[in-house]
């Protein structure tokens, strides 16, 4: 029983120290408050519960700080990020269209590729409009549409890899990053920014 108390005390201390490390630097006082408070808790599992709560609080605080820094990114940085993420897929979309027009693909294959790659130009347009337009945040419908297209792009590209197969990881990891991962990250970031922008517009 006594050893259990000692063990739970040690676990709680380690957890609360982790929470203190996870808190942003400007919350140093709060980190110390969490650590010190542990000394006054009864020597049982309530200390562990307290420490787990502190970790949750620290992570939420860290996330809020990240949100604030994301929101304060300059427009040109955001635009650059969106260009890097969406331009390769836009070029792929254009090349699929051109190849299709020259009879390089059958119509169903061309449509399938286009349905996934269309995320490139649409995402780029939506992103640039959202970054530079003064009209406000992107609509929920637009955000939902982008998310669906991203999911479809990921699914279609994964299906293509699974169907046709690739000989080696090194042959296709660049493609999956450029075609699927980067646009997906950009969409997540766009939705994230616009959700917070909508929140502030509603609250204002």
């Amino acid at each position: 029983m006594n050893s259990l108390r000692v063990l739970s005390g040690r676990v709680a201390r380690s957890l609360v120290k982790h929470a203190a490390m996870a808190l942003p630097k400007e919350r140093g006082d709060w980190a110390q408050a969490m650590i010190n408070e542990l000394d006054y808790l009864p020597p049982d599992l309530s200390g562990v519960s307290w420490a787990l709560g502190c970790i949750y609080a620290a992570y939420s605080e860290r996330t809020r700080t990240m949100i604030r820094s994301f929101e304060s990114l300059p427009r040109w940085v955001l635009a650059l990020e969106m260009l890097v993420c969406f331009v390769p897929l836009t070029l792929l979309f254009a090349s699929v269209i051109l190849t299709g027009l020259h009879g390089g693909f059958t119509l169903p294959v061309c449509l399938l590729y286009c349905s996934g790659a269309v995320l490139g130009p649409l995402g780029l347009l939506a992103a640039l409009r959202s970054i530079f337009s003064k009209s406000g945040a992107m609509s929920r419908v637009a955000m939902a549409g982008l998310c669906l297209l991203t999911a479809w792009n990921l699914a279609a590209y994964s299906a293509q890899i699974l169907t046709f197969g690739q000989s080696h990881w090194s042959d296709w990891w660049r493609e999956i990053v450029i075609i699927a991962v980067l646009p997906a990250l950009a969409v997540i970031h766009l939705v994230f920014i616009n959700t917070h922008r909508r929140g502030s517009l509603i609250a204002a």
Partner: protein
């Protein structure tokens, strides 16, 4: 921007405890016990309230030797006014909703 939003039920519970003894400094674990809030809910609220100048905090050395100092909290004057207004607004909204709910 957050100032126009309603206070959450957790914040109102904390206000209820803090306004009972507005001049008394209270520590985190005590507030957690009195409100029933876990530390994961309590600390973010305390931080927000401090940021907004509604709550003040101070370090108090422990009377027992060898124990660390504690972080204590109490409402500022502005915080006390805000807490009272929020509680009033909340109870007014409740009374508006309750009759409709009763006969629905």
């Amino acid at each position: 921007m957050d100032r126009n939003r309603r206070s959450s039920a957790h914040t109102l519970a904390l206000f209820a405890v803090l306004t009972k003894r507005p001049q008394t400094w209270q520590y985190g674990y005590q507030l957690s016990q009195l409100t029933g809030l876990k530390s994961g809910t309590l600390y973010p609220i305390l931080m927000r309230l401090c940021d907004r100048g509604l709550l003040e905090s101070k370090w108090q050395p422990s009377p027992q030797r060898g124990r660390p100092q504690r972080h204590m909290y109490r409402l500022t004057d502005a915080g006390a006014v805000f807490a009272r207004n929020e509680s009033r607004r909340n109870s007014a909204e409740r009374t508006q909703i309750e009759p409709a709910g009763r006969y629905a």
